[in-house]
């Protein structure tokens, strides 16, 4: 597969204010690549460096050691900064703090306007982006009247209108209710499946990570686990040790296997779990 983003041995830190300029390391020689069209989740407890990593993907931050190559462009190359930001869009946690304009469509147009695109083309893009996130009928609304999930979809549309190749989302569902979370996940999945958009999703919700193609677990500025969700979530104890969770079905299977029941450990979905359990019960001669 074609690499879209690659981080080669990147380190990043900041100078602590209270401890005499001591350097606090956030990323420590991290290696990682993200392929074109992939849907990747990044997990890790607060302060593990995942947000810092995300900001390296569109040159908001640059590593002090190592290189980040985005679509063939090095983020150290200052002339390419805006090209990189055009190809990697970012969505943040708080939907309120990333909407600039007082009207939905004006806000979606903000990115393309900054790119210097001509007016007719902006109109087409705004319309398309709002339709993609299912917010077209709200185009003339004031953002502060929308629900959290709707605002976050407007923020996504704002990024889509720039026609990026990749979208990086830093806990986009953390402040939303279950309905808003579902809306956002549906939208993102659709962008990935139907439009081949590369998606990097930082999240604390294991059920969202379970819906991705690939899960990366970070701890102390390094990659701890990297693989398909089914594979990563079998490491129940390791995940718990770094302050993370697993889906309840996975945890149940893990607990049962600890108790001596032979059951596969890579079960993420409810139906899968029910089938596996009834298989086992049947083998044990329990009548349904």
């Amino acid at each position: 597969m074609e690499k879209f983003i690659s981080a080669n041995g990147i380190s990043f830190g900041y100078h602590s204010v209270d401890e005499q300029d001591k350097l606090v390391t956030v990323l420590d020689g991290l290696n990682l690549s993200i392929n074109k069209g992939e849907f990747v989740a990044i997990l890790g407890h607060n302060g593990c460096g995942k947000s810092t990593l995300a900001k390296h993907f569109n040159a908001v931050l640059v590593p002090y050691k190592g290189d980040v190559i985005v679509d063939g462009m090095n983020t150290h190359d200052e002339e390419k900064i805006f090209d990189i930001r055009e190809s990697v869009g970012m969505v943040f946690q708080n939907p309120d703090n990333q909407i600039v304009a007082t009207v939905v469509e004006e806000d979606v147009a903000f990115g393309p306007e900054n790119m210097g695109i001509e007016s007719d083309e902006i109109c087409r893009r705004v319309e398309q982006a709002l339709k993609d996130v299912d917010m077209y009928e709200y185009r003339e609304h004031a953002p502060h009247r929308l629900s959290g999930g709707q605002k976050q979809r407007v923020a996504i549309a704002g990024v889509l209108a720039m026609r990026p190749k990749c979208i990086v989302m830093d806990e986009p569902t953390a402040m939303l209710d279950p309905k808003g979370r579902r809306e956002v996940m549906q939208t993102v999945k659709k962008m990935n499946r139907e439009h081949g958009m590369t998606v990097v999703l930082i999240t604390h919700y294991m059920d969202e990570a379970a819906q991705c193609d690939r899960v990366i677990v970070m701890d102390k500025g390094e990659v701890l686990l990297d693989g398909a969700p089914k594979e990563v979530f079998t490491h129940v104890e390791m995940l718990k040790n770094v302050g993370l969770d697993v889906p309840q079905t996975t945890e149940l299977c893990f607990e049962l296997s600890k108790a001596g029941v032979e059951i596969p450990l890579d079960i993420l979905e409810v139906d899968e779990c029910v089938d596996a359990l009834s298989d086992i019960l049947e083998k044990k001669g329990v009548k349904a």
Binding site: H45, N46, K179, Q248, T249, L252, G260, V270, V286
Partner: protein, 289 residues
């Protein structure tokens, strides 16, 4: 005696304007002292308005609220006193911190209650201990802390008022799993030690299943149910229709029951499911556990 008693409570926002909206409609409710109640409902179901009534922040359009047998809206002086019996921790409470030191911020509530220095000091230290703040942190500025720590300071600020009823509106929103478990664990410990009544508003049915004894379900400004967690989650299909989710485990149990296995319907935690399945397997006679 019920510590919270609500009679025919109705609240209408912006009455008489084009924005008129019924937020709470004819709610009747009695909550006993010492319960741990999970409050669930979709956004806009009226649960936020309901809990603000219990604290007296919002006046009912009609109906009555009794705290400890006293009518909350009978007179103004009494209301101020009754309000101290009900502590309310809002969503993202860390945004209400303002004092120069953590100690002063936690002491803000007790000071407003007019307690003496000694009592305030005792309460501040006890509350700080509950949320895992060490004594050496007390003179630090709350703005130096991490997000999760700030939130614990804010919660301590309400705990220090030692309310009979403690209401928390989504205290774990935006936290990582570790921070979430830490706060919920501390709330549980507080509940067990102080024996106060707790109302926990949460979108996470998993958390309600793990910590609460009773669940209160709001739907479209009406109270749908107030019962034990087991009985509430037994209405899983209705709850899912409201746009809420039931724990994954409850769904697994339902799936097994649908296949005809004899597993009790009132299981909603991983630990409970594990025990039930092991027991079932044992009945099969061939367990290798």
């Amino acid at each position: 005696m019920a510590v919270i008693k609500i009679e025919n409570l109705t609240h209408v926002y912006s009455q008489g304007t084009p924005f008129e909206k019924v937020a709470v409609s004819n709610v009747n409710l009695e909550i006993e002292q010492g319960e741990f109640v999970g409050v669930i409902g979709h956004t806009g179901s009226g649960k936020s308005t309901l809990i603000q009534h219990i604290n007296g922040l919002v006046a009912p359009t009609s109906g009555k609220i009794y705290i400890d047998g006293q009518d909350l809206w009978q007179d103004k002086v009494q209301r101020h006193a009754i309000r101290f019996k009900v502590g309310l921790v809002f969503q993202y409470p860390e945004y209400q911190l303002f004092e120069q030191t953590i100690y002063d911020d936690i002491a803000f509530g007790p000071k407003n209650m007019g307690l003496d220095e000694q009592e305030i000091d005792k309460r501040v230290r006890r509350a700080a201990e509950f949320v895992g703040l060490t004594a050496d942190m007390m003179e630090k500025s709350p703005f130096e802390l991490s997000g999760g720590q700030k939130r614990r300071v804010a919660i301590a600020g309400v705990l220090a008022m030692e309310p009979k009823v403690l209401i928390l509106d989504e205290p774990t929103a935006g936290l990582d799993p570790k921070g979430r478990d830490m706060i919920l664990g501390q709330i549980k410990e507080y509940h067990e030690t102080v024996k106060s009544t707790i109302l926990l508003v949460s979108h996470s049915m998993e958390d309600v299943a793990r910590f609460a004894t009773k669940a209160l379900v709001m739907n479209h400004s009406k109270m749908f149910m107030y019962d034990t967690v087991e009985n509430v989650f037994a209405h899983a299909s209705e709850i899912e229709k409201m746009g809420l989710s039931v724990p994954q485990i409850s769904k697994v149990v339902m799936g097994l029951r649908a296949k005809g296995y004899d597993i009790p319907a009132n299981i909603h935690t991983v630990e409970g499911a594990k025990q039930a399945i092991l027991k079932l397997a044992q009945q099969g006679g061939m367990t290798n556990a």
